[in-house]
């Protein structure tokens, strides 16, 4: 057992976990943050993507201990109160989700994609960058639309800040 201390969605937490505990297990089983999902166990599907120190990571593919001291943001932590993150709003407005299971990971990956590419996003880039996130419902068409839409919204909201 080890104590892992980290910040999750702005809140400092200390959790006693078995050494083999994965970050996704810490989030789901210990902190009850069940918005982060597990879809494949082999780091392919991206349903488990969260942000760690500002980067998108697959939380099923790292130990909780590796997040010691880190700042982790999950899908539960990106809206400001009732105000959705522009990526969340864009997924809703563009019907970028159906069953919702891949959605948290998609949104967390997509925010990271926009951050890394700034405003320089086009459809082929979005499709290529989403390679690590699998969706079985939407056929990606509306996810791609949502990411491109959000990229514009995020530029506007950054400019406003």
């Amino acid at each position: 057992m080890s104590t892992v201390k980290l910040t999750v969605n702005g809140k400092a937490v200390a959790v006693d976990v078995e050494d083999r505990t994965l970050l996704v297990q810490l989030l789901r089983d210990h902190l009850n943050l069940t918005g982060t999902h597990v879809g494949c166990d082999t780091s392919q599907c991206g349903a488990c993507v969260v942000h760690m120190d500002g980067r998108a990571v697959k939380s099923c593919t790292m130990l909780a201990g590796q997040a010691d001291g880190a700042n982790v943001t999950t899908i539960e932590g990106i809206a400001k109160g009732d105000e959705l993150h522009p990526m969340q709003a864009a997924f809703r407005d563009n019907h970028g989700l159906q069953c919702g299971y891949c959605t948290p990971g998609m949104i967390m990956s997509a925010i990271d994609i926009v951050h890394r590419h700034g405003g320089q996003l086009d459809e082929p880039t979005v499709r290529h960058e989403l390679e690590g996130n699998i969706c079985r419902c939407t056929g990606y068409h509306n996810i791609v639309k949502a990411v491109l839409d959000a990229a514009g919204r995020m530029k506007v909201s950054q400019a406003a800040e």
Partner: protein, 780 residues
């Protein structure tokens, strides 16, 4: 239609919880004292179970129990069932091999459970499972239909000599033979419809909770049809009588057919929760999903089509071998028979059809309905045949289809189905216009100059949806009726709860079903809630599959709404001192037509519940229910055209354009309909280019993770150009045909027709991987 009524592109009510991480899937639920199950599964495709030694595991930390198949037998838990009886051409019933939830004696596919460890945590259960020693005696195995039907092949079930489930026929063999005898041309084709793994992104899961005092079970499960699950668990598996079993299917992360069936794991979880006296949770991992979720497709077919001198089809002969895997899953028997062979007429006037379907056991995961279920296999076969015929007869593929389209409705095909309506020319026209079919030769020539092989492929699909008229399916062997139920509960303040037996696992019912209410009453959808997925709340229902939720489920809601509105009108007329016949409903008000007299809907609701001043003899309250049984299947149809380029150097396919023109009848929410089509198209493209659940000759699965099984990724597929043509379905009052499966049914043939057009060689199996395409291009 109003801003939230029928036809409006309303954003989904359910989205907020999904985009904020507040969805509630089975694995998100924790119960007090909950234990965790881990199944011990056979690593062999075929073996005798000689013994199970769990003595070491039982001493390990946190282990509560290790339960085996023999204990299931001892407790008289029933075997799994197949709910659709098929009769072979010799009059004999289908041959069902016994399928226990955990194998006490013989395992017949890799992944079949033999025992389960129950422990305080998932990790402890897994640790202990490592220490359970199972003594197997390996037996020879067969993995594909060719091997399984050979003389001397290893036999799976004593009940099924020759590994044959059934040998079933449909159509008029004599008339078909006569048509072929007179044919001017005969076109022949052999096709394999590749086996697929459904892969809903949420793995299956179950939590079973036994209440000893009440002798009552609660099951949270990933189901598309919780009431059917309860019925089967009660009536056939002896788990508990229905009133002592509550089944809850909360948010479910995709189904595509794979979550229709009642699997061994739910049964074992229920039984185990009573045995250990604590709740039991099981969540599949992805490899378990590959091993145990029912697979789809897996047909091997030889077909021949006869034409007269005017290129009119005169006859069709089909012989299909369908791989059922090791056991008959819940609705598996119906898939290659009544869901497949009944659609072999496609969109075409074919006077004589004869089809024979031979079901075969193999040492592989059971096969059952996967998005489209039989109809993709039929559509793929017919549309590959039409393309092959056009090439052989040297006519334009679109023109050959047009020559043979059914244009008069209703149309009785020779294979049971009676198409009610459609306009196949309209959807073909729309798709050809959208892709600029006329300009294709110039584009092909330009691509050739750039060193690329460009091709275009047409697919005109039809499906039978709105499953299904109960009497009709009953006469064909179904063990259940396929109606739907609904209840409309108006609260005293005028808010409305709609209870439905349909289940949403991505389809957006919480929005579209509200749109019907908004359309009829003029109330905002925020005033309406949809309640589904809980057998304690909704009395009964048949669930969601076969593109049935709108055509059947929403019609049931409409019927209940009509009853509720009729009573509400009486109350309004009484309050307004007017005749009931003069009351109209507009913008949330009940009005006396032609006057300014009106009463708001909430006041009508309140009057119903205060009951201070109701019409003489009227019962208080405002709640109505309905069961709706459709009168026919519905027949969505359309044309998909795919234009693509093949790189002759690598065999890699790149999409240029993909257009879809569908006729789904009336659309409730076009945004959601488009989403359904996008998703279906990518599953069809996935089958055509990427996906294949492969077994080696010994029955070992080769593709049991996302590292080995190629799921379509975003950069594998194009964006789509969709349009709709409309003929309203005459079979239901809303005119709805259904849209959930079309994409998966029609897309594969469009892709393969386009690739074979590009490379100039007709024979190409799915998935058309670059390697396979390259070899086909360069084959002698």
């Amino acid at each position: 239609m109003g801003v939230e009524g029928i036809g409006a592109r309303v954003v989904r009510k359910e989205d907020k919880r999904f985009i904020t991480g507040k969805g509630r899937y089975v694995d998100d639920i924790k119960l007090l004292g909950m234990t965790h199950a881990h199944f011990i599964r056979s690593p062999h495709a075929h073996a005798k179970v000689k013994g199970i030694d769990s003595s070491t595991a039982l001493k390990m930390p946190g282990v509560v129990a290790v339960l085996t198949g023999q204990q299931l037998v001892d407790d008289k838990v029933g075997n799994l069932i197949c709910g659709w009886a098929i009769t072979s051409k010799d009059g004999s019933p289908m041959k069902m091999g016994a399928w226990p939830a955990m194998a006490p004696e013989t395992v017949r596919f890799v992944g079949q459970a033999v025992a389960v460890v129950i422990a305080d945590s998932k990790n402890l259960a897994r640790d202990a499972a490592e220490a359970v020693v199972v003594d197997y005696e390996e037996l020879p195995a067969v993995a594909d239909v060719h091997a399984a039907i050979k003389a001397g092949a290893p036999q799976l079930h004593p009940e099924a000599p020759g590994n044959q489930v059934y040998d079933w026929v449909i159509g008029d063999e004599g008339a078909t033979d006569a048509a072929f005898a007179k044919a001017a041309n005969v076109v022949k084709l052999d096709v394999t419809n590749n086996r697929l793994a459904p892969n809903a992104m949420e793995p299956r899961a179950a939590i079973a909770d036994y209440d000893q005092a009440e002798e009552h079970f609660t099951l949270y499960t990933t189901s598309q049809n919780p009431h059917v699950a309860r019925l089967v668990l009660s009536a056939f598996y002896n788990i508990a009588p229905e009133h002592k079993l509550r089944v809850i299917a909360p948010d479910v992360g995709g189904g595509f057919g794979s979550k229709i069936f009642i699997y061994p794991e739910e049964m074992v979880a229920l039984w185990a929760s009573k045995k250990v006296g604590r709740p039991v949770k099981w969540t599949s991992d992805r490899t378990e999903a590959f091993l145990t979720d029912a697979h789809g497709r897996d047909h091997v077919t030889h077909a021949e089509m006869a034409f007269d001198a005017n290129n009119k089809i005169t006859g069709l002969k089909v012989k299909t071998y369908a791989n059922f895997g090791a056991y008959m899953s819940l609705f598996s028997s119906s898939v290659p028979t009544y869901l497949y062979a009944t659609l072999l007429s496609g969109q075409y006037n074919i006077p004589a059809i004869h089809a024979e379907v031979i079901g075969v056991y193999t040492n592989t995961t059971p096969v059952d309905a996967y998005r489209g279920a039989g109809r993709p296999e039929a559509s793929y076969l017919i549309e590959r045949l039409m393309e092959t015929a056009a090439r052989q007869l040297n006519v334009d593929p679109a023109a050959l289809r047009r020559t043979n389209f059914i244009t008069q409705f209703p149309h009785q095909t020779p294979v049971i189905m009676a198409y009610d309506t459609g306009d196949f020319n309209a959807s073909l026209d729309a798709a050809m216009k959208a892709i600029d079919y006329a300009g294709f030769p110039a584009r092909k020539a330009k691509a050739k100059a750039d060193g690329k092989l460009r091709g275009i492929g047409v697919s005109c699909y039809i499906e039978a949806c709105g499953i299904a008229p109960s009497k009709a399916v009953g006469s064909l062997g179904a063990g259940v009726g396929l109606w739907e139920s609904a209840e409309v509960r108006v609260n005293p303040v005028g808010t409305i709860e709609i209870l439905t037996g349909s289940h949403s696992h991505g389809q957006g019912h919480e929005t579209t079903f509200c749109q019907l209410v908004a359309d009829r009453l003029g109330v905002p959808i925020s005033q309406v809630s949809i309640v589904h997925g809980d057998t304690d709340k909704v009395q009964f229902g048949m669930g969601t599959y076969g593109s049935r939720s709108a055509a059947v489920g929403l019609t049931a809601i409409l019927k209940a709404m009509e009853k509720m509105e009729s009573k509400a009108k009486k109350i309004a007329a009484h309050a307004l001192e007017a005749s009931e016949a003069d009351i109209v409903i507009e913008n949330g008000e009940f009005k006396v037509t032609g006057t300014d007299k009106a009463i708001a809907f909430p006041m009508v609701a309140l009057a119903a519940y205060t009951a201070h001043n109701l019409p003489e003899g009227m019962e208080p309250g405002l709640k109505e229910s309905a069961f709706y049984d459709p009168t026919n299947f519905t027949f969505p149809a359309g044309t998909y055209i795919c234009e693509l380029e093949v790189d002759p150097g690598t065999g890699k396919t790149s999409f240029v354009n993909f257009v879809a023109a569908d006729d789904f009848g009336r659309l409730i929410n076009p945004m959601i309909v488009e989403g359904q089509v996008h998703g279906g198209l990518v599953q069809g493209i996935g089958q055509a280019l990427l996906e294949h659940a492969i077994y080696d000759a010994n029955g070992q699965p080769v593709t049991a993770s996302f590292m080995d099984y190629a799921m379509p990724r975003a950069d594998d597929v194009p964006s789509f150009n969709l349009s709709h043509t409309t003929t309203l379905c005459p079979g239901n009052p809303l005119g709805i045909k259904g849209c959930g499966e079309a994409g998966a049914i029609g897309a594969s043939a469009a892709v393969i027709n386009a690739i074979t057009d590009a490379i100039g060689k007709n024979n190409l199996e799915m998935p058309a991987t670059p390697d396979r395409v390259w070899r086909t291009i360069h084959a002698a």
